[in-house]
């Protein structure tokens, strides 16, 4: 498949935004459980605002993918069948919840509404946080299922696509939370750093299994089934177009396959060991800059990873374009 920059930016930016939003809510939950010191409202408010900025950036990038962005609102229609439609509904919902959650902290709407059990004081920010968690997880599933639901792209048609989006997105978001805390000089950098390392390692397992699965994948369709001629020797002589077509552009990455393979090592290095080492190092030397660097490198790696995710997928229609394939 041809990797579109707009889609690469969309999926990486909203992944980091969703992860950061989850990180803010997780921080609050830990504080409620007295595992962490309670933070100022401003901490959650600006964190949610930063998450919102990433979500907005992703949404903005997605418009460049569309031929008719002015009609994008129509995409909410087919939520019963289309994961893309579901994403179009859930993404603004997450943005609204992030804004509301941030506002609840910024304006101090934290008067307890009711109490559960002995000590759990439920306020508006907690309710919004729970709703935000559900919506954010739903958005990860929707985004990933856009790809995983296309059964013809066997490289994508696996639950590992969903786990990749979930764990790589949350890892990047918690890394961003660590960077944000480090920037503020907040001691929560250790908490977020540790979680980002855990999520990064889980993400590595998921992506590694995905790569291993795809390397062993046997294409379901062959040139023989594509044109219905049972013969081992079939050579294509004409593709039906002189100067290429939509089919010869949209479904091919147009790069040397060895580059695609080499990029695998690049992104695996950028996403997994380097940020983990940088976070570890930042504990030792208590540097405020290293978590920011770790996030930046991992985000760059995720963009390469998303490029390769598209390039690795081989569409069965390519069988009809043998000289491009």
């Amino acid at each position: 498949m041809h990797p579109a920059l707009s889609v690469i930016l969309l999926t990486t930016a909203i992944g980091a935004g969703q992860g950061l939003f989850l990180a803010m809510i997780t921080g609050q939950l830990y504080a409620i459980a007295h595992f962490l010191p309670v933070q100022e409202g401003q901490f959650y408010a600006f964190g949610s605002l930063l998450a919102l900025a990433f979500l907005l950036a992703g949404l903005g990038a997605s418009f460049f993918h569309l031929g008719h962005p002015e009609r994008a609102w129509r995409a909410i229609a087919m939520w019963r069948t289309s994961w893309l439609s579901r994403e179009v509904i859930v993404l603004p919902l997450v943005m609204i919840l992030a804004l509301a959650y941030g506002s609840a902290h910024a304006f101090g709407w934290t008067r307890p509404l009711f109490q559960i059990g002995e000590s759990l004081q439920v306020d508006l920010s907690l309710l919004l946080g729970i709703a935000g968690t559900i919506a954010t997880l739903a958005l990860f599933v929707c985004t990933a299922m856009i790809y995983a639901a296309v059964r013809f792209l066997q490289e994508w048609h696996t639950p590992l696509t969903v786990s990749n989006f979930l764990f790589l997105g949350t890892a990047s978001g918690f890394m961003l939370a660590a960077a944000y805390s480090a920037y503020l000089g907040n001691p929560l950098v250790t908490f977020y750093g540790t979680w980002s390392v855990i999520l990064t390692l889980v993400g590595f397992i998921s992506r590694f299994l995905h790569l291993r699965r795809n390397d062993r994948l046997k294409p379901k369709s062959t040139l023989q089934t594509a044109i219905g001629i049972r013969h081992t020797q079939i050579v294509q002589k004409a593709q039906g177009a002189t100067g290429g077509s939509f089919n010869t552009g949209e479904f091919f990455h147009g790069q040397n396959p060895r580059l695609v393979y080499a990029l695998r090592y690049l992104y695996l290095t950028l996403i997994f060991p380097i940020p983990v080492l940088l976070i570890g190092l930042s504990y030792v030397i208590t540097s405020p800059r290293l978590p920011i660097l770790a996030f930046g490198i991992q985000f760059l790696g995720l963009m390469v990873e998303r490029w390769a995710f598209f390039a690795e997928a081989r569409h069965p229609q390519n069988l009809y374009y043998q000289s491009v394939a």
């Binding site: 498949m1 993918h65 569309l66 031929g67 008719h68 962005p69 009609r71 994008a72 129509r74 995409a75 909410i76 229609a77 087919m78 069948t81 289309s82 994961w83 893309l84 439609s85 179009v88 856009i146 639901a149 296309v150 059964r151 013809f152 792209l153 379901k220 369709s221 089934t225 594509a226 044109i227 219905g228 001629i229 013969h231 020797q233 079939i234 050579v235 294509q236 002589k237 004409a238 593709q239 039906g240 177009a241 002189t242 100067g243 290429g244 077509s245 939509f246 089919n247 949209e250 479904f251 569409h315 069965p316 229609q317 390519n318 009809y320 374009y321």
Partner: protein, 243 residues
Amino acid sequence: MTQLALVIDLNVCVGCHACVTSCKEWNTSGWAGPLTDYNPYEGSPRGTFFNRVQTFEVGTFPNTETIHFPKSCLHCEEPPCVPVCPTGASYKRPDNGVVLVDYDKCIGCKYCSWACPYGARELDEQQKVMKKCTLCIDRITDESLPERERKPACVLACPTNARLFGDIHDPDSEVSVAIRERGGYQLMPEWGTKPANHYLPRRKTQLHIRPDELTRVDNPWRKEDITPYTGEESIDDVAWAAI
């Protein structure tokens, strides 16, 4: 329920591209607007087509066969491109089974083209909407046309009658009989998309001649034995040779 479809006979397609040009002509000048071309007279022309003819060579020289393979939307009975469309622009007509795109609703997200294993959909680079074969829906449903012209432009244009058009759900239609009796098959059946369009396979044309058919039993020359036969070749030497 009706399911209109094309049945394409690979045995008689000669790869003349008349279906391609007639399709382009009819659909670019119709109500749905142009099928845009870019650089039509330059070295690298690009454009939107609903139908293309590809050519494959099967076998190893000298035992090769050339297959001309016309390729357009197959109007699947389980169209995978329809449920993925977020706007509902992509739909299957319930009355005749034709898969269509509403150009006014399409947002140009290309998701339907990803969900089509056959690569039947093309994004129009100027109008920025997804386009595909409509089976000439504006011809086949136009009751002001005489009955014999209510067929897709490609079918009317084909000089070798390689393209048949009809309802594959009617067991007595020309297309159903052709599929049933001439080994009609579907492309990539492994995906369960149930393409409505079928292809008829190439057939070996063989002539079986028995030795007695080579001998002209009632050869008057032989009967009267008036031939000045001296061992040289004659126009009738097949008959003589068999004696």
